[in-house]
Point group: none
Chain length 416, copies 2
């Protein structure tokens, strides 16, 4: 069956339109479909209203040939997804014995008495393939009608996810008769803006069709998602590697990792691999860097300790910043950053000490505008201080600084 | 203008259809609109494709009179939301000087060179009200066209949320010319579970219609949102106060603040009001507490400093924990918590010192299971150590502990 080039996901439930929950089902199903090469072109959410649902189905039928519904399969009277779909198809609902038995068993198991409206849950669209629900009562179903496929899934993610992975996906692949393998990889970059990255890669991105290249910016980082399709999985891998190489040839200096890694995860990995311990002296970041590092399990192997030196007195008396430095250059200075990094390294006996001093805002400090930042790094026979001018909110400036901290230590470890 | 009885939210971005992110913007906007009495009937997500976006706009115009778009306002060539909308309206895009200046300032401030495609972000639909973006570059806009309102918001939640609350919502309320005042207030509780709170208030919650009472549990806290409607704003205030009083009469001991406050904001306020300075010694929380306290502006008035004493050596040599204590009782102990709190208070010269020692997990430590936590507080002539056994993830346990830290200092200050 040569269909489902165009998929649409329709979530049914007023709780979505009231903002009580996010439509994570659509995200889950979309990710799953992307992996098997089905293109999702639309997400729709509509309330528990038969008229509006009917309209949404009509619209979907005009533009999509795989329509996946989530929600509205429950026992209550406002659960009307399958009734409305059956109605638009002009097909009856019939009792599915297997589903009915499993509902009876469910009630027996939970020692509850079955109310009449639970029988409603065992009704399925005539002629559809039933998708067993091992984590709830409402069965799912896959119905062919005209040139389209209609998939009905329960709303609770705890029921929808296993049903999709174990029941719906294999059946769908069979119906689609697709033998194309889809492999995608995410390249993560730091230290370069989205528009700059795209400008640098414009010709490659425009020329690329397999793999496709999708840029995404978030939290001061940019990612490129490469997605390749081919019948031969080895070939998809080759296509990905080839494109990756041509991308990294241009912007490799900003690349730091794949898929769902993060700067701090890479830092943690690198330190453990090299048997390196680190410590931090944080002024305006207030412990954000150490909090990130220690949020990962196994942190005790690499994190010696940190000092949140918010006051000059702590900078001076705990970390040994010279009084003259604070008097002459101020706390927000190259010199102070250098002495803080060296100080915390000495205090904790770590291999690397990193320091953050600057102005988080909203008010200027020592005549520096918010975003003025110095990051110092101290290691055996090596000292660095880096200057920055960040824009954004107080929280944003602190995060940017902590990320640069990870980035700069990673660069130093690379050079070793 | 008597419109916007029917709202639709259209999210633009292929990353949604690939399942890379969930459509949390639609959830946020829906919740906000529900509060001001605007009915949302549809959510739609569509990719960065002008033809499909145009179709989606046409469909929306047939069924909705307030259409809110999120995403696709960025600088790259796949950001085409406003171009497509302007095109369907038959209106030109014009350069907005204010927006352009703020973009220039952004680049000047960050010492980066502005690439030509950033100018694109300053273009707005002719005749629209511009919504300033204080957390990014792309301005939002609200355009009236025919009998409809079109609102354009940027995709990143960190930009969309403040823009909606501070710029879009007030403007929208004006345009809607609603004469019924909807006032809502949120009561925040800590130290009591959601089910317990609901049980204690069941009869009140069931009886209430104006204001309505909506409980919500998140991050180990429970909130009650009270929403009252009335033509006379004074009357809504009276209704809210009346209901609040009857609630606090029962569970007042767990109440700590209103609306979007937080435990750490209340702590910060209380310290500044009482002229109290604090310092922290953090073992398993790794700087989370100090990071929270210093994330608020004005932190320098109250936060003397902190030590992240992840290793025993730092506990002993920086904070003066006795070697015997570590040897006899271990780092995860009442005694260690007491000495850490006293030690950091002495080291920083603060009025109050607080310490966190425990097991974040996933692995047990010193024979203690994850979630075993000691929080010590040291003040002039006063010492406390509180024991806890928290459940949950490593991150969850750290957060619970940091929140209890705020809670415990607040209680101590109350007693003064």
């Amino acid at each position: 069956m040569e269909i489902a080039k165009k998929a649409e996901i329709i979530a049914v439930g007023s709780e979505l339109l009231l903002g009580q929950i996010a439509n994570t089902n659509a995200q889950f199903i979309s990710k799953e479909l992307a992996e098997i090469g089905v293109n999702v072109f639309y997400h729709t959410a509509v309330g528990d209203n038969p008229e509006r649902l009917k309209q949404v189905i009509r619209t979907a039928e005009e533009r999509s040939d795989l329509i996946i519904f989530s929600g509205g399969l429950g026992p209550t009277k406002d659960d009307l997804t399958k009734e409305t779909i059956a109605n638009t198809m002009g097909r009856p609902l019939v009792l599915n014995d297997e589903a009915f038995r499993s509902i009876e068993e469910y009630f027996a198991k939970t020692k509850r008495t079955m109310s009449p409206n639970n029988r409603k849950q065992a009704l399925v669209i005539e002629g559809s393939d039933v998708l067993a629900n091992h984590f709830g009562m409402a069965p799912g179903m896959l119905a062919e009608h005209g040139s389209r496929l209609y998939m009905l899934l329960p709303g609770p993610p705890s029921e929808l996810r296993p049903m999709f992975e174990n029941e719906a996906k294999p059946l769908l692949l069979k119906k689609l008769g697709s033998n194309e393998k889809i492999v995608s990889t995410v390249l993560r970059f730091f230290g370069i803006g989205e528009s700059q990255l795209e400008a640098d890669l414009e010709d490659i991105i425009d020329a690329q069709t397999n793999p496709t290249i999708a840029p995404l910016a978030a939290d001061g980082e940019v990612t490129l998602r490469l997605t390749a399709k081919h019948a031969d999985e080895k070939e998809t891998e080759r296509l990905l590697k080839e494109t990756e190489a041509s991308i990294l040839e241009r912007v490799g200096e900003f690349f730091y990792g794949y898929d769902d890694t993060s700067l701090v995860k890479e830092l943690s990995k690198a330190c453990r691999q090299n048997g390196i311990t680190i410590s931090s002296a944080e002024s305006f970041t207030g412990g954000l860097f150490s909090e990130w590092v220690t949020d990962l399990s196994g942190a005790s192997q690499l994190f010696a300790g940190g000092v949140v030196c918010y006051s000059d007195s702590v900078k001076q008396h705990v970390l040994g910043v010279k009084a003259e430095t604070l008097a002459d250059s101020g706390a927000v200075s190259k010199e102070c950053a250098r002495e803080l990094a060296a100080g915390v390294r000495k205090l904790t006996g770590s291999d690397i000490g990193i320091s953050f001093t600057g102005v988080a805002g909203p008010d200027p400090q020592e005549g520096h505008a918010p975003g003025r930042v110095f990051i110092g790094i101290s290691a055996e026979g090596k000292e660095e201080v880096h200057e920055f001018n960040f824009a954004g909110s107080r929280t944003g400036i602190r995060k940017r600084a902590a990320k640069y901290g990870c980035h700069l230590i990673l660069k130093m470890l690379d050079q070793k």
